[in-house]
Symmetry: none
DNA sequence: GTCGGCCCTTCACCGAGGCGAAACAACCCC
DNA sequence: GGGGTTGTTTCGCCTCGGTGAAGGGCCGAC
């Protein structure tokens, strides 16, 4: 189990241990008792009695945060074409916004040129070279954020963090 | 208010906005409804019915996280058009006051030119270029405070701290 | 190995449109 | 009247999207 379950206030000492160990934990708080509060995202609490579903919901969020704490954060693209990553952001024009949407849906996986063309130009692609040109432009715009679009020859493209290494091999 | 209160699932659309704006929020979930889950530390949910104390507890944790996230000082605009930030202040004339109100409501997020026009001139916009001119003037007035209005081409404008994320393209 | 073809990259260029900003003219309130 | 505020015009830059063309790397054919 990735998340510690802690009864409050009975297991107060154990909560201290788990906190300083940096483990994720869910604190079970009986009726009429004030919950222990902390800004630590790896700690949550729930008021008893609670349904199994609610407990599972909070556990899942904590598990996600444990997983997320290890990885670098994922880029976030909003409906206005703002791409945020690590406190920085760039704005994407319409075509590149649509391309980026697909690349993010399949983050770190290959997206075919065909799928990109359909996403970028739903009414049909204007010319043979258009996609290539827009990939170049998107690459330049993404560079300051540390994001890189890798070419997977004759398969498509792949979006990932810059420093993450790909041992290129076709 | 630093933390948005959102009724689920009634205000689903607003939750999306607030999420992409990066604001802290507490989602109120009625009995029998599954809560929306996210690993974002700035989001929490609570099962209704809940005591005021429990709501306040969760709000306080979210506020602490906002503070910890470094979003510490937001500019403050009062009803007299005085804009304060970091010990300094400037006074804003009526039109710019109204524009600034909208920009602050969506601090660090995009505000469309249309929304700005409606806020600045509720009875209809006088001329084609008026908004541009007032943005220029507002920019000059905000500069001494270290605030910057970024252009997001064909989408609108965005207000943020000057030295923070100066990457923008666009 | 060498050759040719395919795929991809990048540059230069153009037209259209969004936006910036100076200059000017009216206006309002003290 | 004077300073600050607001609206208008005008000029010009930059961005965006699309096109043509030059060039380079990889691969299979031979």
């Amino acid at each position: 189990m990735q998340v510690e379950l802690i009864r409050w206030p009975a297991e107060e000492a154990r909560l201290s241990e788990v906190r300083s160990a940096g483990l994720a934990r869910l604190v079970l708080v009986p009726e009429g008792v004030a919950p222990p509060l902390t800004a630590d995202p790896l700690e949550d609490w729930i008021r008893l009695p609670a349904s199994d579903d609610d407990v599972r919901s909070r556990l899942r969020v904590l598990e996600d945060r444990v997983r997320g704490a290890g990885e670098a954060d994922r880029p976030d693209l909003d409906e206005n074409g703002l791409l945020r990553l690590g406190g920085q952001w760039v704005s994407l024009p319409p075509v590149e916004h649509r391309l980026m949407t697909v690349l993010l849906e399949r983050y770190r996986a290959v997206v075919s040129r065909d799928a990109l063309a359909r996403a970028g130009w739903p009414d049909g692609i204007p010319g043979r070279n258009v996609l290539d040109v827009h990939i170049v432009r998107l690459r330049r715009r993404l560079a300051p954020l540390g994001l890189v679009i890798r070419t997977v020859r004759s398969r498509g493209y792949l979006l990932e963090q810059g420093s993450a290494n790909a041992l290129s091999g076709g």
